[in-house]
């Protein structure tokens, strides 16, 4: 087997999924992806993913928005076109706070959403490969890497390991489909 292949299996319960993932991880099985219909807590910890850095993107977006929002108003009313409005000073800081705040929130929110979409490679027009139509319904899919040098024997051994954890519908698949998603 030269091609990268993987195994697809599913659980029908999230409790079972967590148990299964824990024991598979212990045995050193390579888990490529897990697809769930709703966020199942702790999977990311079991699989050893780091905390998302999306908060920092939000912070930077917000900071940029605040600086642009406040700076622009100051520039307009002190440098570009000072206007006397109701006897207020040109640099009327309290007046500039609301727009600054709104700009902060707006930029932070957009920065985060864009970062999320780009990093996750999803967005309008994305063509995902759907492994199982019920993975957005009631099935908890796992995709397990087989490895380049796997023989038929190692594959069936792996299949046994997976089915021992209570998974069903174990199928061997080619890599072509998987790489489409990432």
């Amino acid at each position: 087997m030269n091609k990268n292949k993987y195994l697809k299996a599913y659980y029908d319960d999230d409790g079972l999924l967590i148990k299964g993932l824990k024991s598979l991880k212990k045995e050193g099985v390579e888990i490529l992806d897990v697809l769930t219909p709703f966020p199942v807590h702790d999977i990311d910890k079991i699989l050893g993913y780091r905390r998302s850095w999306i908060a920092r993107v939000g912070f930077i977006g917000g900071a940029v928005g605040a600086v642009i929002g406040f700076g622009f108003q100051v520039w307009v009313f002190t440098v570009d076109y000072p206007l006397n409005i109701g006897g207020k000073p040109f640099l009327a800081v309290p007046s500039f706070i609301p727009v600054t705040f709104e700009m902060t929130v707006l930029c932070a929110a957009f920065a985060m959403v864009f970062a999320f979409l780009i990093r996750s490679k999803i967005g309008p027009g994305a063509e995902p490969f759907i492994h199982d139509e019920r993975s957005t319904d009631d099935r908890f899919l796992i995709l397990v890497g087989v490895g380049k040098n796997a023989t038929e024997e190692t594959v069936s051994e792996l299949k046994n390991k997976i089915s021992n954890t209570g998974a069903q519908g174990i199928v061997l698949k080619d890599d072509v489909e998987l790489s489409k998603n990432y």
Binding site: S95, V105, F116
Partner: protein, 461 residues
């Protein structure tokens, strides 16, 4: 996570994940009923009448309205504030209640957010047509123009432009990001040949990968953290429109938090009005239970009482301040020519919600429905009282005027209701009313049948 048996369960009946999907997507997968078509025809008729009245207004000018030199803001601004207020419940539910870990929000947040977006759209109509020259509406944006003049950043009306558009965009993002997994569920469940590719496009390629979920959760939380102060800011800035002036009855420092509280109050009333109907007609009574309605009623009584305290505070401070104009305005509100509006407001907003202290009434669906309509009316009158009674008696008695709406104004308001309900009916037809993924995530800890199984498992371990 352990949940105390003392708590009321949130999802009734014998449910599993499959059933949740089927129950909630049923109205979308199936053909719509007669009731739905009837509803849409009524509401879109109202919308068309409203659009025609707007056309008349733009063609002939603001003279078509009853506003005059003294009362320059009539129904139009009343409606703007009312709609913006209604638009506060959705983001409150999905952002602030998320931060407070209120699980009951999962059954109502999606539709409440949709209401937010539609209500803000309706609100946006009014200042735009009130400016008179609709095609020049873009003047409100700060862009480098040939006049070399920028917009006035000292004006609360301009702050409104930023606040409302930011609120609209961020609410839209928040709503859509939450909707992604549910659209993916629809994509995989709908058989219709036209709808399936549409959902496929709208789902942005969501597969439910754990990497996506993990990021999605982080993002949702921070978006909630951003949206929470945003909710407060929007109605505060709307209140600044009034409070920065020196008109008695408008210039008072309590306005920002009091407006926010009133907004959430009226928003929840509208959510209750619509959801009580929707849960029955769409067979969702097991997801939106009496417990949910009671929780919402608790928020109604809290925010309603805050509003009541603010009324009394204003009244007292008008006397305490010793300023004759302030004193007159409040005296005039309660006993002057618009006293009827004032007392409608007081009855609907302050007195009637106090009945909710009785647990039986709090859990009565019929009573809640009637009360929610009372509150909607009362909150509309609150804005009417603030706008009109403060204006119609100016500093100079020679400019005292009365204000009466014309048919055009009434038609525009009816039209905005039509637009709102049409959009909402379209929403429930094509998108899930309840957040499918979020309800599934609380099924084990709060579902009636599931809890016993989970508890047994925990004990066996």
């Amino acid at each position: 996570m352990y949940v105390s048996p003392v708590r009321e369960l949130l999802i009734k009946g014998d449910k599993n994940y499959k059933k949740v999907t089927n129950d909630i997507t049923k109205p979308i997968v199936n053909k719509p009923g007669k009731l739905w078509f009837l509803g849409v025809s009524v509401t879109s008729l109202a919308a068309i009448i409203g659009l025609f009245a707007m056309f008349i207004t733009v063609r002939d000018g603001i003279g078509m309205w009853g506003v005059n030199k003294t009362v320059g803001w009539g129904w139009s601004i009343t409606n703007l504030v009312w709609w913006i207020g209604i638009g506060h419940a959705g983001t409150f539910i999905s952002a602030i209640l998320l931060l407070f870990r209120q699980k009951w929000r999962t059954s109502i947040n999606r539709s409440a957010e949709a209401m937010t977006i539609f209500a803000v759209m309706c609100a946006g109509i009014f200042p735009l047509i009130h400016m008179g020259r609709l095609p020049l509406g873009y003047f409100i944006l700060p862009y480098p123009s040939t006049r070399q003049l920028w917009v006035n950043f000292n004006s609360p009306l301009l702050w409104d432009v930023f606040a409302i558009s930011t609120y609209f965009l961020v609410s839209l993002l928040f709503w859509y990001m939450g909707l992604l997994p549910d659209i993916a569920t629809l994509r995989d469940n709908v058989k219709n040949k036209i709808l399936k590719p549409v959902y496929k496009f709208l789902s942005f390629g969501w597969t439910g990968s754990v990497r996506h979920w993990s990021r999605h959760e982080s993002m949702s939380l921070i978006l909630a953290g951003l949206a929470a102060p945003l909710v407060l800011s929007v109605h505060s800035i709307v209140s600044f429109d009034f409070a920065t002036s020196i008109i008695p009855g408008w210039h008072t420092t309590i306005f920002p938090p009091y407006f926010v509280s009133g907004a959430i109050f009226s928003g929840f009333a509208m959510v209750l009005t619509l959801m009580i109907v929707a849960r029955k007609t769409m067979n969702l009574t097991e997801y939106i239970t009496v417990g949910h309605i009671e929780s919402m009623n608790k928020i109604i009584i809290t925010t309603g009482s805050i509003v009541g305290i603010a009324y009394i505070t204003e009244l007292f401070m008008a006397w305490y301040s010793g300023v004759i104009y302030e004193r007159f305005t409040f005296y005039n509100r309660a006993l002057g020519p618009y006293a009827w509006a004032y007392w409608i407001m007081m009855t609907c907003n302050v007195i009637s919600p106090q009945l909710l202290w009785i647990r039986k009434l709090r859990r009565s669906i019929l009573f809640t429905f009637i009360l929610s309509i009372f509150i909607n009316i009362g909150m509309w009158f609150e804005r009417f009282v603030i706008v009109v009674t403060s204006l119609h008696r100016d500093y100079l008695p020679s400019s005292w005027q009365m204000y009466k709406p014309t048919l055009t104004e009434i038609a525009i308001f009816a039209g905005s209701l039509g637009i709102f309900f049409t959009l909402f009916l379209l929403f429930i037809r094509f998108f899930p009313v309840i957040a499918i993924a979020e309800v599934k995530s609380i099924l084990k800890s709060s579902g009636e049948k599931q809890v016993n199984i989970t508890q047994n498992l925990l004990e066996n371990e």
